[in-house]
């Protein structure tokens, strides 16, 4: 018996939800970033599952692009994090509050 696609989808949903919780819950900027990556991965899983389900390649192409963009985003984001960390001497996201009223 093969794995029904819905199993993959549920797993994807669980991972996504956990990513959201981590995103909201954690205080370290880098950890928050990692939560974002987790969310992206969950979405990738869903895409691949659907690509398999409809027997199409578009899902895989999309996953490809997601990975590429995630890489670019991680690079730039971490560079920003480094800059902020050096300026503020803290990695607590709550210290990055210059947008406060």
């Amino acid at each position: 018996m093969s794995v029904p696609i819905s199993y993959y989808l549920v797993l994807s949903a669980i991972l996504f939800g956990l990513g959201v919780i981590a995103f909201v819950f954690k205080r370290n900027i880098i950890t928050i970033f990692m939560a974002i990556e987790l969310m992206l991965n969950a979405v990738n899983l869903a895409f691949v599952a659907f690509a398999h389900a409809w027997n199409q390649l578009d899902g895989l192409v999309f996953v490809f692009f997601v990975i590429v963009v995630a890489a670019a985003e991680a690079a730039v984001g971490l560079a920003i994090v480094i800059t902020i960390a050096q300026n503020r001497r803290s990695l607590n996201v709550e210290d990055v509050n210059l947008l406060k009223f």
Binding site: F23, I32, V96
Partner: protein, 666 residues
């Protein structure tokens, strides 16, 4: 026919003078201001003279002469035109206004010579003349009211002429506000008249009133209501009980103002109005009685106050109030011609009295308290003689103008168709008191030893431009009565027959019958025509003459012969003396009854509560709420990324729920 066709010129000239002096005169030399000011009024006076000449050539059907210039207000069925009319009554008033105004203007060039605001003064005076002329020439109630209000405005401006003086501005306020109370009744009267007669034009109203019968005195019919309301305005404007309180305070204004406005013209507007509305008053006996009653009471009451006043102008002010009461007494008795005649003679002698008083004040360097005068007889002879002549007139000494006019009024009160013995008695005693306090004024001011500091005050006679008007008015005060002298002295009773057509028109039927039976001859509403023998008797031994002479003797006794008697009388009647000396504490009474509660309401209720708490609270509260909300809302912008992240999650959750819901539904 020139002036008759161009009536507006008479009005426009003073208005033009006011505008020129008001706008441009500030930097002009005095002679330029004088030229404009006196010139405009003298041209108006010449216009009036020419008007009289042309008017005499009209036949009866053309009177009243009516000119309509343009339609001013037209709202639905309410239509008011700018329309002027001229009849004999108008001519009398026009003559008085322009003549006395002219003399006052000439006098002012001397009196105000050293004052600031010279051009402003003449501008206001001219403006006043304009409004007064509008009032007397108006052909409908609303235009008359425009003049009415306008003279009130000018009175306010002129009383408070020295506006840096607190008492002057307060007096101006008092005058305006007090007359306002009366004007309120006046306005309602106009509206009621429009409601009843569908028009505010005199002609239309009188035509509609003509067939109406005399109203009964048991209850208030529409005519009585209108008359009483209009009279309320007269009570304010002509300073009768209970709204007379502004006139004594109005003496804060310059003396020419007191002479012109508060003696000769503005305060007589109420009398003119009653005379003009005589068709209504003749048909409302209750209203007429009220008019006569108020007049008589005021005449007596005010005279009593005048006995003890020490300021020379205040005595004259209370005298004015008193004499106005006589005019209303005359009108209330149906003797409209007599009332108007007294108005004319009063304009002469009271105007003269005020101008002469101004001359006295000028002579003693600004002192107005009679207790600090005395012995001025030889030092300022012209002033003395003119003032004496005026006093003889006002006291009702036979031969002078005041005698004829006051006598006619008292005759109407005592023997006329609406006669009332009580009112006649009040008037008679008032006449005696008038004589007393006027001669007291003369004696205190001009006789006896000087009570002022002879070293400090250099008494000097006034300049020519002040003395000439005095002399002219003195002549009028003497001979002015002769135009209405009854037949016994060879007079033609000219005045009465002159204005007779005015008051004979729109007669109410029953009264005519009554008149004929009483006098046995062609009689009029305007006065009675007694038979000659009665007149001789009355003229010589009549009670008014007795009262006048008695007053003179008493004044001479108390002021010259035996002043100690005066002090003794004061000591014995101390309570009464204090009461009268303090003017019956009426001002204090009004302050306690009306003014202080009103001020309290204004301050505490209107200002603190409504304005500050409610209105300001609402406005400020709105701002406050905006601020508070803004303050709360901006806390969303906490700068805390986690909170932002949470908001994102909330949004995502909401979105998916929405989608789920939609999807499920589908």
């Amino acid at each position: 026919m020139f002036i008759l066709n161009h009536l507006w010129i008479i009005l426009a000239l003073p208005l033009l003078g006011a505008a020129i002096n008001g706008l441009l005169g500030r930097h002009w030399p005095k002679w330029a201001v004088n030229t404009v000011g006196i010139g405009s009024v003298s041209l108006s006076f010449l216009g009036v003279a020419e008007l009289v000449r042309e008017f005499m050539r009209l036949n009866a059907a053309q009177v009243p002469w009516f000119v309509r210039y343009f339609n001013w207000i037209s709202v639905g069925s309410f239509s008011v035109d700018f329309a002027l009319q001229v009849d004999q009554l108008t001519l009398v008033m026009l003559f008085i206004v322009t003549f006395v105004s002219l003399l006052v203007h000439i006098y002012s060039t001397g009196y105000m010579a050293h004052e600031g605001g010279y051009a402003r003064f003449f501008s206001y005076l001219n403006l006043f003349v304009f409004f007064m002329l509008t009032l007397v020439m108006a052909a409908n109630l609303v235009l008359m009211f425009v003049g009415w209000e306008g003279v009130g405005l000018c009175s306010y401006l002129l009383i408070g002429f020295w506006f840096l003086k607190k008492t002057a501005t307060t007096a101006g306020n008092k005058a305006f506000i007090t007359t306002r109370l009366g004007d309120f009744g006046f306005t309602i009267g106009i509206l009621l008249a429009f409601w009843a007669f569908k028009s505010v034009d005199f002609g239309a109203i009188f035509n509609r009133v003509s067939p109406m019968p005399v109203e009964s005195t048991s209850g208030i019919g529409i005519l009585t209501a209108i008359c009483l309301l209009l009279f309320a305005g007269a009570v304010g404007k002509s300073a009768q009980l209970p709204l007379y309180v502004w006139l004594p305070d109005a003496m804060e204004g310059p003396t020419p103002v007191s002479a012109l406005i508060h003696a000769a013209t503005m305060v007589t507007a109420g009398v003119y109005m009653v005379a003009r509305m005589h068709p209504l008053y003749s048909r409302a006996p209750l209203a007429m009685f009220v008019v006569a009653l108020v007049g008589a009471l005021t005449a007596f009451y005010s005279a009593t106050i005048g006995i003890l006043q020490t300021d020379i102008k205040k005595v004259l002010a209370y005298s004015t109030v008193s004499q106005l009461g006589y005019m209303f007494l005359g009108c209330g008795m149906g003797a409209y011609a007599a009332g108007i005649f007294h108005l004319m003679t009063h304009a002469f002698f009271k105007g003269l009295l005020f101008l002469a008083a101004g001359s006295v004040i000028h002579a003693v360097g600004g002192e107005q308290d009679m207790r600090n005068m005395g012995g001025l007889r030889k030092k300022i002879p012209v002033t003395y003689w003119t003032m004496l002549l005026a006093t003889l007139a006002i006291a009702g000494i036979p031969g002078f103008s005041g005698f004829f006019s006051k006598d006619e009024i008292l005759e109407a009160a005592g023997a006329g168709p609406h006669k009332n013995l009580a009112l006649w008695l009040l008037g008679l005693i008032g006449a005696g008191i008038t004589s007393f306090y006027m001669f007291r004024l003369v004696f205190l001011t001009f006789f006896g030893k000087p009570r002022y500091n002879e070293k400090k005050v250099r008494v000097h006679e006034s300049p020519q431009n002040m003395l000439v008007p005095l002399i002219i008015l003195a002549i009028c005060s003497v001979i002015g009565g002769w135009v209405a002298a009854p037949h016994l002295v060879g007079g033609s009773d000219y005045f009465e027959s002159f204005v007779h057509p005015v008051f004979a028109s729109y007669e109410a039927q029953p009264v005519v019958a009554q008149q004929e039976s009483l006098a046995g001859g062609a009689s009029t509403e305007g006065g009675i025509q007694p038979n000659p023998e009665m007149e001789v008797l009355q003229a010589v031994t009549g009670p008014p003459v007795i009262a006048a002479v008695l007053g003179l003797l008493l004044a001479w006794w108390f002021c010259i012969r035996k002043p100690s008697a005066a002090t003794k009388a004061i000591r014995n009647l101390h309570g009464l003396y204090t009461l009268v000396y303090n003017k019956y504490y009426v001002d204090e009474l009004y302050a306690a009854l009306f003014i202080r509660p009103l001020l309290w309401i204004s301050t505490n209720v209107l200002w603190h509560t409504i304005d500050e708490k409610i209105i300001d609270g609402a406005v400020n509260g709105t701002a406050h709420i905006s601020r508070e909300m803004g303050g709360r809302l901006r806390e969303i912008q906490s700068g805390n990324a986690r909170t932002y992240a949470t908001w994102v999650v909330i949004g995502a959750v909401g979105f998916t729920v929405l989608l789920l819901g939609l999807w499920m539904v589908r």
